[in-house]
């Protein structure tokens, strides 16, 4: 995909969370955002997801601009897959029903078709045995994988992940990252906010470092992890990779 951001600004109260970000990535498939907490990476992802509105600037994905009005923005959201840190699933619905809900109610598939597609997608990720379980009966890793399945089942233009493994233990983290990597191999375009540097290094084709609401650096992982240009990025990576 081609991702263009120009002059994106977002403030919460008097705090400028995203500060005039501009970026043009003509051909990116796995875009990873890293940086310190509160640096603005989650907010930027939420803007891309159509969940927050930037006060200024424009965003275009493959040349089509992100809408600003409520209803077009809702339609935009329905066409992309977003996965959060935790609590993605609706606790009163089973895994299967969670996946069927957007297919049936948003994308207007007939019930049988929605069910068939949900089951097929669950099967693809070896989650079919859990189809009739409620989220409370699933492990953290399974919950995230069902959440990703729900995002994939709608055949989204892009997939967005907001720290999808931050609430998981290392083993579950691995199982979720494997799934994300598999999606990447299939050729799906994704944007990922993460603290998993090792994963970013192997999976990303562009990595952006955000601090204080600005993108201080954006380059392929080979470059950013070995020879970061900005001082604060080097310091951040030095600290995070030391242990």
């Amino acid at each position: 995909m081609r991702l263009e951001l120009s002059g994106i600004t977002k403030t919460f109260g008097s705090h400028r969370v995203i500060d005039d970000i501009s970026l043009d990535l003509p051909d990116v498939h796995a875009f990873v955002l890293i940086g310190p907490s509160g640096g603005g990476k989650s907010t930027l992802l939420r803007i891309l997801a159509g969940l927050e509105r930037a006060e200024a600037g424009r965003i275009a994905i493959d040349g089509s601009e992100l809408p600003r009005d409520d209803e077009p923005l809702r339609q935009y959201r329905s066409g992309i897959g977003t996965v959060f840190q935790a609590y993605n699933l609706f606790p009163h619905l089973t895994a299967l029903e969670n996946i069927m809900l957007p297919l049936e109610k948003v994308h207007r598939l007939p019930r049988d078709e929605a069910r068939a597609r949900a089951i097929e997608t669950l099967r693809r990720f070896q989650l079919e045995p859990h189809a009739h379980k409620k989220p409370a009966q699933l492990s953290g890793g399974q919950k995230q994988r069902v959440a990703i399945t729900r995002a994939v089942a709608i055949k989204p233009r892009i997939l967005l992940f907001d720290e999808p493994t931050s609430a998981l233990d290392p083993e579950m983290t691995a199982e979720v990252l494997e799934m994300i990597e598999e999606l990447k191999r299939e050729g799906r375009d994704l944007v990922l906010v993460t603290h998993e540097m090792a994963f970013a290094r192997v999976a990303a084709d562009q990595v952006a470092f955000l601090d204080n609401g600005k993108i201080l650096e954006c380059s392929p992982p080979g470059q950013i992890f070995t020879a970061a240009r900005s001082e604060s990025c080097r310091r951040f990576l030095g600290r995070i990779l030391r242990y």
Partner: protein, 256 residues
Amino acid sequence: MPASSNPSTPALWQRVASLLLAFALIAGLFTFAFSTVGYRWNWSGVWVYRALFLKGWLVTLLLSAISLVASCLIGLVLALLRRARFLPLKYLARIYIETIRGTPLLVQLLIFYYVVAHSFAIENRYVVGVLTLSVFSGAYISEVIRSGIESVGQSQLDSARAIGLTTRQTYRYVIFPQAIRQILPPLAGQFASLIKDSSLLSIIGINEFALSAQNVSSYTYSNFESYLPLAVGYLVLTLPISLWTQSLEQRNRFET
């Protein structure tokens, strides 16, 4: 999880015996109290009017049932208005709720019956009674519903928006199914209050249960014989609701 698997739950016979003991204690206290005032019971006078009691009880049941449904609708609309983005609607709901909850039903009933109903040419006192009761109870129910809605976390709303649900669909498929568990126990409690509050309708001359008792009392000059059946009649309605509430609360605890 069945209750019996819990080791701290006492055996059935223990519970029955304790219940009987507690009941006997309270019954004994009142028997003693009545015996010291030397009250002379005379049930035969009241027995003559048993049909009047039954009719009053049925009217109370009917009025309560209609008010129950109507007050739920009013409560739901108010709860949604309080969350409205359009400020005048939001304030309208707030003023309504605070005024109704802060003033006695007695005053509301008099104002509705003698002023509002009159100016809108509502002749039927039963209609006025049901409306007033619904308006009154609706204010309380709206707060119950609102807190239930607010118990559904922001992350759920984010998820709902992320998959592209409209606001209406979010309420229908995400918020209400989760909120209903929080809403039901206090709502049932509110139903029990509503049934008892309906006794005030007697002051605008509605022939419900409380007025039947008053009438019988004045026909027969027997106070307690008229009012004790009244208490029992209300208990018959409120006790099942109370037990239902408790079982709901119990179930919620196990499921979460």
